[in-house]
């Protein structure tokens, strides 16, 4: 060794970086998003599923007995005289509103959540 270079020359080897941790591909993350561990989101998801089932099943949505119902609003009729705001209709609207509200809340907690195609973000209120 005739040259006086410092003993500790930088090796050409790159530092042994740890092998990359296995990462879920993006589409898997979406699936995993359904298995959320946050209990609040779990509850919201469960309710969302329940509402979606009720809306799709065609079952009677408001089956409260007569005495427990709240007073009906003034009837609204369409242009051929059929009542629009039936009890059934109002119950459906109520569920739809709750559904949209739940989706909004899930999105708030998990911005990666993919809302259903018919979800409309609430209009920003002044």
């Amino acid at each position: 060794q005739n040259n006086e270079e410092p003993k500790k020359r930088k090796s050409r080897w790159a530092d042994d970086e740890p092998k990359p941790v296995f990462q879920l591909p993006d589409f898997m993350k979406d699936l995993a998003g359904g298995m959320d561990t946050d209990p609040e989101i779990q509850a919201l998801n469960a309710r969302l599923l329940e509402i979606s089932r009720m809306l799709q099943s065609g079952m009677q949505l408001d089956n409260r007995p007569e005495g427990e119902r709240s007073p009906s609003p003034e009837p609204v009729y369409d242009n051929i005289g059929i009542r629009i705001n039936t009890r059934e209709y109002r119950a459906r609207e109520r569920l739809n509103r709750e559904r949209q509200e739940i989706i909004s809340q899930i999105i708030k907690r998990n911005p990666n959540f993919k809302p259903p195609a018919d979800y409309r973000p609430p209009k920003l209120q002044k």
Binding site: R9, S11, R12, W13, A14, D16, K19
Partner: protein, 116 residues
């Protein structure tokens, strides 16, 4: 295992590891660089077990083709050291190049055949 670049199916472990895609013949022509590369190989390769030999074929000054130029051969005293070196060095970067590590047939290595 199997993290590296497409291991050949049925690849049998040997005591000789062949590293490729890491150095150019220009670097090997230069005596200083060659010595440094050799040193880097001994130092890094020695971390995985007893290195018995390090061979880095160099291009000939006359310009004729020399088999195995650009490859680095690390011979270990046992194949399990060789296997851990293969796992660790394959995919690592050397002078900015990503290294490919494969087992090399011992008989060829001992016969001085570096061109396989």
């Amino acid at each position: 295992p199997g993290i590296g670049i497409g291991p050949i199916i049925g690849e049998t472990p040997t005591k000789v590891l062949c590293l490729t895609e890491m150095i150019t013949s220009d670097e090997l022509m230069d005596d200083g660089e060659y010595e440094e590369i050799l040193e880097d190989m001994r130092e890094e390769g020695g971390k995985f077990g007893a290195l018995t030999n390090v061979i880095i074929p160099r291009p000939s000054k006359s310009g004729e083709q020399v088999a195995g130029v650009g490859k680095v051969f690390l011979e270990y005293s046992d194949s399990s050291s060789c296997a851990s070196a293969k796992d660790a060095l394959g995919g690592r970067k050397f002078a900015g190049n990503t290294v490919t590590a494969v087992y090399y047939a011992e008989d060829k290595f001992y016969n001085g055949d570096y061109g396989a």
